[in-house]
Assembly symmetry: C2
Homo-oligomer: 351 residues x 2
């Protein structure tokens, strides 16, 4: 195990580690002790009908949801809903290459985990830990959108509403290749050492290059042109890279990023229907709002709209944000109000 | 000097090496023997009024223009025009870090060259070698567009028509950062050795990663989604990377790519007007067609349109091509017909 301060309660307050036990993975591996980092808000109603699930995105944890999306006055209101945010497997808080106590799956031996494995683990957690068998809403961004789609397709009877934000049900080839370029920044750092480093600091150079790729694809051309970083308190684009993106990613565990990336690249609900995406999305009975971000460079609106068109009774709700994909960080003052309006509309719909 | 077979007449037929002598550079360095690789087509009219200049793009040479853009039946018709394609300084054919015989500027000692330096060298070449003092047209793609804009702003009386394709007059911050990520792939390869490798093969890993970045930013999300590589004879996206983009870039000289990248990052015609882009573009008297590519990920149409709006009497002519920026390779059957139509319209306009 590697001690990495980023994955501590100093940075990530108030979460529980809950094991859902042995998890047999789609790719054939096994995690014997599948620990999930879980944060909850609010109270489960006696009828158990007010539960909202939030799965996390690549590099993300429950903390950004705590900081920006959840609270009184938001659509995700703990006074009305019991909200459960489950950190995805491999994200550094839930069971991950660097934090597992099981040497057979530590570091370079960590097994391949798929989006479906996360959803199976989450379903088990909700049922066994909280007695939740039906979700009022599943909502997530990016890889959280992938998991939201997977929930709606895999467990249609258990999902009343779904809100995938800035993500797709079937990963695109461009996205696969973009993610591969992220991985290559880590793989090419000699300090990565085939996944057998002893501190994430040894992979700092690769993580910095990785952060820079997020600069050009995660934000939009217009973000940089309009110098939106200045509103975040930075004096130059270089200062934004060294003061924001670089510290964000260099704090993280490289193998955690690689584990999530492998999963992200292969997200595909049509695995349930022999590759027929229309058939898979046609199974969705949840009331679904598809929420792309207008300036997203790698989950462009048209890719999300094409999937939305295959979901019965769904709506396309485009979030207007010049920040692009990393608008998910909710740094634009206009971002959360739009999310709140769309999620509020969705939650108010009878199902 | 490093012998690199890519920069030979086996690959690049029929070009001349012409020296324009000593070139004092904007950044303070000097190239004593400024050799330019030049290819011409057609015959200069006695009135010397049928000359067309084509500057080259990042990684490009005159060869792509010979193969795809120039010939009978094209707007760039050697039966009507005297066409001069000048390879940019640092492109591996013109004077470059790996091919100079001057040890004071070889390899890591190669001086910083700006777009304006190229244009000054080209103007001297045209005047001294061919007696050309006025251009019927300057046309180029990407960095060739940067040089076209520089010509029209720096020498307004010498340019009758200009057609910048898929490029900008003032480089955008996003573009600067994207180019930096390309550079980082080379810099991070231990074989690059601070620019003092003895064969470009030593930087192969970095050049492969560099090629992959072109895959995700140079082509468009739609290129990959529509599997446009299949029309180019490849069986998979991976096969297209290993069979097309990787061999293309791994054949090249890393320091040449870095020299061009430095120049690209800093292209800015407003250097002539104290940073006032509107004033710089307002100086243009050439009849100008601005030709962005519809799916370009890093020279988006709106960036080009914003500049076009500042050029008196100009027109915006968007080239529709799902290939994105690397549509410049003219692999889509619909690409060259559009270029021919727009350039034909422009050349037929009285000036």
């Amino acid at each position: 195990m590697i001690d990495n301060a980023y994955y501590s309660s100093d940075i990530h307050q108030d979460f529980d580690i809950v094991s859902v036990g042995r998890l047999e993975l789609e790719e054939g591996g096994v995690i014997e002790d599948t620990t999930l980092a879980v944060r909850t808000w609010g109270t489960l109603a006696p009828a158990r009908d007010n539960a909202i699930l939030i799965p996390t995105w690549y590099s993300g944890t429950h903390q950004i949801w705590a900081d920006a999306y959840i609270g009184p006055g938001h659509a995700l209101d703990p006074e009305k809903y019991f909200i459960v945010c489950v950190n995805q497997i491999g994200n550094g808080l839930s069971v991950s290459p660097h934090n597992t106590g099981d040497p057979t799956i530590a570091m370079s031996r960590f097994p391949r985990v798929r989006i479906g494995d996360d959803v199976v683990a989450q379903e088990r957690l909700l049922r066994e830990r909280f007695g939740i068998e039906r979700l009022a809403l599943v909502v997530g961004g990016s890889m959280g959108a992938q998991q939201s789609y997977e929930w709606a397709v895999r467990f249609p009877d258990q999902v009343l509403r779904a809100a995938p934000i800035a993500g797709t049900a079937k990963n695109t080839p461009h996205d696969f290749l973009f993610t591969e370029t992220l991985n290559e920044q880590i793989w090419s750092d000699p300090g990565w050492n085939g996944g057998e480093y002893t501190s994430h600091e040894q992979v700092r150079d690769g993580l910095i290059r990785h952060a820079h790729l997020w600069g050009t694809m995660g934000f939009s051309t217009e973000f940089w042109k309009q110098e939106k970083w200045s509103a975040l308190g930075f004096g130059s684009k270089e200062g934004f890279l060294t003061g924001f993106l670089e510290p964000y990613f260099t704090a993280m565990d490289p193998n955690a990023l690689l584990a999530m990336a492998w999963k992200w690249q292969r997200g595909d609900v049509s695995r349930h229907t022999g590759g027929d995406l229309a058939a898979a999305l046609g199974r969705i009975t949840a009331k679904t709002f598809v929420l792309p971000i207008s300036e997203d460079m790698f989950f462009p609106v048209r890719d999300c709209a094409a999937e939305q068109a295959l979901i019965p009774g769904s709506e396309l709700r485009v979030i207007d944000d010049v920040h692009g994909h990393l608008g998910l960080f909710a740094v634009d003052p206009g971002f959360i109000p739009q999310v709140d309006r769309h999620l509020g509309d969705l939650l108010s719909l009878p199902v």
